[in-house]
């Protein structure tokens, strides 16, 4: 057991897989010599050499297209898109190429690749470098979508993503890179499509992802300590595949559902899960499911402003307390 930052967990996860399988290669902008702009890939060039770990030009379409072509022909590429906002300049690959090639070819073409990308707010970078865009990917049939909240999950889910035979978009939260956590020694391989109940509770189910997980946990502490409300906090971890069994199981016990989303309000994963839950568990619910989200606005840059828009523990506490009428 070692204490590792989320940032170092990324490098460890990649290194674990590259050491295991020569077909794993890794490339992106400034990822090799410089170890990445978030310093999440430091040391990989030294360990695996310049053929397997490569710096690219600023050509996101070439990066993802090349990753796809390599994946189709027998390699297992990991490609970095520096900020998830930049998925917009190579969206055709994510939306139209990776996820449709296997289906359109009736199973002939495979696409086992991982796109790692820095997601989320908190760095005061403004509207084009702070978005949470995991819902862009969840919308697209044929992708898998993962967003870990802890260093241990980073290693395990990244390994699972690399070993997965389908295209996986792997969202690393920029504001979690510096966070530390215990990571078991040795090889770690987690399972995609599994949510985790991080805190049991009987009064309501609270779903969260990535940076919202520690905030939901903090809110749960306050709710218990100050309001006698015991919420069950579920780290969704994987949007596709989606672990609805764990989620519906929890709602079946608590009869109330809250989602805590960093993405802007419309058409997020919260809307999807709420819609599934009401369709399948309507009569189990004691009250309306409530989504706690960032408001539907572009993100402001200023620290004073940015801090006001993301869901905070205080806002989570307040929303849940009021909705439960206590």
């Amino acid at each position: 057991m070692a204490e590792l930052t989320y940032r170092d967990a990324v490098a460890r996860g990649i290194a674990q897989e590259m050491a295991r399988d020569d077909d794993v290669i890794f490339f992106g902008e400034d990822v090799a010599k410089a170890g990445g702009v978030f310093k999440a890939t430091v040391g990989l060039l030294d360990q695996f050499g310049p053929i397997r770990v490569r710096d690219t030009p600023i050509s996101e379409q070439a990066i993802l297209g090349a990753a796809m072509g390599a994946a189709m022909t027998g390699l297992k590429p990991i490609a970095e898109i520096m900020f998830s906002d930049f998925l917009a300049v190579c969206w055709d690959y994510v939306a139209n190429e990776f996820p449709k090639s296997r289906y359109m070819t009736n199973g002939q073409v495979k696409c086992p690749l991982v796109v790692r990308t820095g997601n989320g707010a908190g760095s005061r970078f403004g509207a084009q470098h702070s978005q949470s865009v995991e819902n862009w990917c969840m919308m697209i049939p044929g992708l898998k979508v993962v967003a870990p909240s802890s260093p241990a999950d980073v290693v395990g889910l990244l390994a699972a993503a690399v070993r997965d035979p389908d295209p996986v978009i792997f969202f690393e939260h920029k504001s979690l890179y510096a966070v530390k956590g215990e990571v078991p020694d040795g090889e770690i391989v987690d399972t995609l499509g599994t949510a985790k109940i991080l805190r049991p509770g009987k009064d309501a189910t609270v779903l969260a992802l990535a940076l919202m997980v520690p905030r939901a946990l903090a809110a749960a502490e306050t709710l218990a300590a100050e309001h006698g409300i015991e919420v069950e906090v579920v780290d969704v971890r994987s949007l596709v595949p989606l672990d609805m069994q764990t989620i519906l199981g929890s709602v079946g016990r608590t009869h109330r559902l809250f989602t805590v989303e960093e993405n802007p309000r419309l058409c997020g994963w919260g809307a999807e899960i709420v819609s599934i839950a009401v369709e399948e568990a309507f009569y189990d619910m004691d009250g309306p499911p409530v989504r706690i989200t960032t408001p539907h606005i572009p993100l402001p840059a200023a620290d004073a402003l940015e801090d006001m828009v993301l869901p905070t523990p205080a806002r989570i506490v307040e929303t849940i307390r009021r909705s439960l009428g206590s």
Binding site: I25, I51, R54, T56, P57, S59, E60, Q61, A62, I63, L64, G65, A66, A67, M68, G69, A70, A71, M72, T73, G74, L75, P77, D92, Y93, N96, E97, S101, R102, Y103, M104, T105, N106, G107, Q108, V109, K110, P112, P141, G142, K144, D164, P165, D166, G193, V240, P241, L242, D243, M244, Q245, I276
Partner: protein, 342 residues
């Protein structure tokens, strides 16, 4: 190389770099493409081809020449106008027509349609319908070949209009800096869909005039001359296999039909089509073979053999069932299914 004589009738075949066997193959491939595509057009008129389809009538020499110059292991990346390049790798006419007719015997059992012909077992790694998308993808396939040291080449076909989209630029630079074994083949047929390429392009040769921007040689070839294309392809493949990186080849050609089945091609200036038809690649090539002393009957028997094959394929397709409902939900994911939740 054939010696130029005033008569041009008797040539020293043994001395030719291409040789009779390959020439007959080039001829046959062009015939297969021509006849299969003409059949696709007839079937469309009978309302048996569904969706869209994009023919290469008039452009056959390019696909045939590259298909002939490629070796097993080399990989093709095609566009929606990809019947020709798919057939040129030896994929059966039946499976191509079946896909156009959206039948269960189609290459992808109707799941992909005419714009996405793919036959991995023949090295046809897909036909791509979003302009430019496959240029970077071909780079990736070339990267695998380079990484594994297979000596294989990725060949990426596209049109003149495709040179103006961003992915073209990114792919060319990417391939050049990593010296990837990929050959980019621009079929300049003078038009994008309905707009003449010169109206929307800052240079005369949309591909060749940009080669220098990627440190590449400027290559323009007569795309209606299968021999010329074949020789150019071989040189590019040799370069790629030697580790000397990509090539960008502009082939000048012309499509005889409209852009797609919906297009009567009224935007063409009068006489243009007729002028190009005089240089019909198959006509040109038949004359060439004759000039090399190959008997007319040899070509005629190829024509007939191909006709019989296309007829048989047509009948098989007409008799083939529609794809069954159960394939709707297969192969979204590698586990064979489509489950996105538990």
């Amino acid at each position: 190389m054939a010696k130029k004589t005033a008569e041009a009738t008797v040539l020293d075949r043994s001395n030719d770099d291409i040789g009779e066997a390959v020439r007959l193959e080039l001829y046959r491939k062009q015939q297969v493409i021509r006849q299969a595509e003409q059949r696709a057009y007839d079937l469309f008129l009978q309302n048996l081809v569904k969706g869209t389809s994009h023919l290469s009538l008039g452009q056959e020499a390019i696909a045939a020449a590259f298909g002939t110059a490629m070796r097993p292991g080399d990989l093709s990346f095609c566009t929606y106008r990809g019947h020709a390049h798919t057939l040129a790798r030896g994929v059966s006419v039946e499976s191509v027509l079946g896909e156009l007719m959206q039948r269960d015997n189609g290459l992808m059992r109707g799941k992909g349609g005419s714009m996405h012909l793919t036959s991995v077992e023949h090295g046809v790694m897909g036909s791509y319908a979003i302009i430019g998308a496959h240029l970077p993808i071909a780079c990736g396939a070339a990267l695998t070949a380079q990484y594994k040291g297979t000596g294989d080449v990725a060949v990426c076909f596209f049109g003149d209009g495709t040179t103006n989209i961003g992915a073209f630029h990114e792919a060319l630079n990417f391939a050049a800096i990593w010296k990837l074994p990929v050959v980019f083949v621009c079929e300049n047929n003078l038009y994008m869909e309905y707009t003449a390429i010169h109206e929307v392009t800052a240079v005369k040769h949309p591909a060749a005039d940009r080669a220098a921007a990627y440190g590449l040689e400027r290559i323009v070839v007569d795309g209606n001359d299968a021999d010329a294309v074949y020789r150019t392809a071989q040189a590019a493949f040799a370069k790629a296999r030697a580790g000397d990186g990509p090539s960008l080849i502009e082939c000048l050609t012309y499509r005889h039909s409209g852009h797609s089945r919906a297009d009567p091609a009224k935007y063409r200036p009068e006489g243009e089509l007729e002028r190009w038809k005089e240089r019909d690649p198959i006509k040109v090539y038949r004359e060439r073979l004759k000039s090399f002393g190959i008997a007319e009957s040899v070509m005629t028997s190829i024509d007939q053999e191909v006709a019989r094959m296309v007829d048989a394929a047509t009948e098989a397709c007409k008799a083939a069932p529609m794809p069954p409902e159960d394939i709707l939900f297969t192969d979204v994911y590698a586990d064979g299914g489509w489950a996105w939740r538990n």
